[in-house]
């Protein structure tokens, strides 16, 4: 239906502040269908806020967000709901419903959104549980009974259960062991390749970023300061990117850290 030339997500000059804290100061980002873009950037640089703006959970002050060519910043009610049906989201904190057990969490969009029968939804949910490397006994547990990494994976299963066209992953591999991290990275790649989904992920793990991304963008001080393919990121001479991917303490990015030893004798 959409011509391939219509971007799946198109963000122009997006601004968002919380009081005096200017978080997004003019983000521009275009994502084509079937792409997998990874956003990197320092802690607190507004990556999660950007995702929440696209989902319409946070209202930006200025700028435009288009999904499939439709401007969403001024949509309300059922129109916005229609757009959200296309999107799956893994929250940084997983945000599982703690009154529902694991399979009911995963099947939530299937039961509520698509009206699937409960036993069929349960089977689908257990299949998704297998995809994220969890045993089917986990299905009956409640979120409070899971470890942090297990919660993350259940959140991931919930995000992909309804096979959305667009999937957001907020730090999908944080808190997982390296092996499980790779499994999840492969799963994300599979979602993009096999389901034809468009993925936008946030991660701090450069190895994982390289595995899942077809393109990487770096956020700094509320703007995208660098964008390029996975191969280009190692070659770039952008000092910010260099400092970030190599995790050097000194460079153009200055962390606001108080020196507690300053002024001590000796």
């Amino acid at each position: 239906m959409n011509k391939p030339s219509t971007p799946k997500i198109e963000i122009k000059d997006l601004h968002k502040s919380f009081g005096r804290n200017r978080v997004l100061q003019g983000i521009n980002l275009t994502i084509m269908p079937g792409e997998s873009v990874v956003i990197i950037g320092g802690s607190g640089s507004g990556k999660s806020v950007l995702l929440k703006c696209i989902l319409g959970l946070i209202h930006p002050e200025q700028g435009s967000i288009k999904i499939d060519g439709v401007e969403i910043t001024n949509l309300r009610g059922s129109e916005l709901e229609e757009v959200r049906r296309k999107i799956g989201m893994l929250f940084q904190s997983a945000a599982l419903f703690d009154s529902l057990n694991v399979w009911e969490n995963i099947a939530f969009a299937l039961i509520q959104g698509q009206g699937m029968a409960r036993d069929e939804a349960q089977r689908t949910a257990i299949a998704r549980l297998g995809d994220v490397g969890l045993r089917h006994e986990v299905a009956m547990l409640y979120p409070a009974e899971l470890s942090g990494g297990m919660r993350k994976r259940v959140g991931l299963a919930r995000a992909i259960a309804s096979q959305p066209e667009i999937i957001f992953f907020d730090e999908p591999t944080t808190g997982l062991d390296p092996i499980m991290g790779s499994v999840i990275d492969n799963l994300i790649v599979k979602c993009v390749k096999e389901l034809g989904a468009t993925a936008l992920s946030i991660t701090h793990d450069m190895a994982s970023a390289k595995r899942i991304a077809s393109r990487i963008a770096m956020v700094f001080e509320g703007r995208i300061i660098w964008e390029g393919s996975t191969e280009e990121i190692d070659q770039t001479d952008n000092a910010y990117v260099q400092q970030f991917i190599h995790g050097r303490a000194d460079g153009p990015i200055q962390m606001q850290i108080q020196d507690h030893f300053e002024g001590l004798p000796g």
Binding site: R84, F91, S93, A95, L96, S99, F108, Q112, G113
Partner: protein, 258 residues
């Protein structure tokens, strides 16, 4: 002087702002109560929570209220040899006022705080955001079932409170004050009017709405972690209790002043 005026003005504006927000919240919530889809499972669970599990609390409150009412009226009325008025005093006080109001206050403590804490926790742990992204409206999924449960269950609880309260008065009158059971029951039935019970039920429905609305409102707008959730629970109970007393006066005025 000026700063005092400023502070007064600011308080007044805050009050107006809060009233506006609550009115808007109420309008949106009500519109979701009457529009499909309805989550019957969730409505059922909330009805159980609000109605069934409140029965012991409301029942105990009512029986002791009825008992003490009979005892107190006796010590007062005996001085004027007006003991025969006790059945009517008990039944009118219980049906018009004490059943719905005390029941409402107990439920406010129980349910208002629980709802504010539950929804507040969902807010601060991003569960409400998650609900929204799964294309489910939180008003429809979380708030409408609770309001419907409050509106329907409180009148039933009030009916229970009325019966149990009158029974409490009966027990004390018969076994402690030496009334004749048949006369007591006859007096009670003769004196109570349909309007007394009806006003009590209407009050209960309004209180049920107020309690659940305040629980949901404060929970939905809570922020800032565990402390914010605690504050939401306190605000829900306090504002619901005050609104119960206010609305109680106005409903009484509508029913009985002429």
């Amino acid at each position: 002087m000026l700063s005092l005026l400023q502070a007064l003005g600011r308080t007044f504006l805050n009050f107006l702002g809060a009233t506006g927000r609550i009115a808007l919240f109420t309008a949106v919530s009500l519109s979701h109560c009457v529009r499909p889809p309805f989550y019957s499972r969730l409505i059922g669970r909330q009805m159980l929570e609000v109605g069934y599990y409140s029965l012991p609390v409301v029942g105990l409150t009512a029986i002791f209220t009825g008992m003490v009412l009979a005892l107190q009226s006796y010590t007062g009325f005996a001085r004027f040899s007006a003991e025969s008025a006790i059945p009517s005093v008990v039944v009118v006080s219980i049906t018009r006022e004490l059943g719905p109001v005390l029941g409402g206050l107990m439920v406010a403590g129980r349910i208002g705080a629980a709802m504010a804490a539950e929804i507040g926790t969902m807010r601060v742990t991003e569960q409400i955001d998650a609900l929204t992204t799964l294309a489910t409206n939180p008003f429809k999924y979380l708030i409408a079932p609770r309001l419907i449960a409050g509106l329907t269950m409180l009148p039933i609880l009030a009916l229970v409170a009325m019966s149990v309260g009158v029974f409490g008065g009966y027990l004390v009158s018969i076994y402690k004050l030496g009334f004749n059971p048949t006369t007591y029951i006859a007096n009670t039935v003769d004196f109570v009017q349909f309007q007394d019970v009806l006003s009590g039920l209407v009050k209960a429905a309004v209180f049920g709405f107020i309690i659940t609305l305040m629980g949901c409102y404060h929970g939905y707008h809570s922020r800032g972690g565990a402390q914010g959730v605690g504050a939401a629970a306190i605000n829900a109970v306090v504002s619901a209790s005050i609104l119960i007393f206010c609305s109680n006066y106005f409903i009484t005025e509508i029913f009985f002043s002429r």
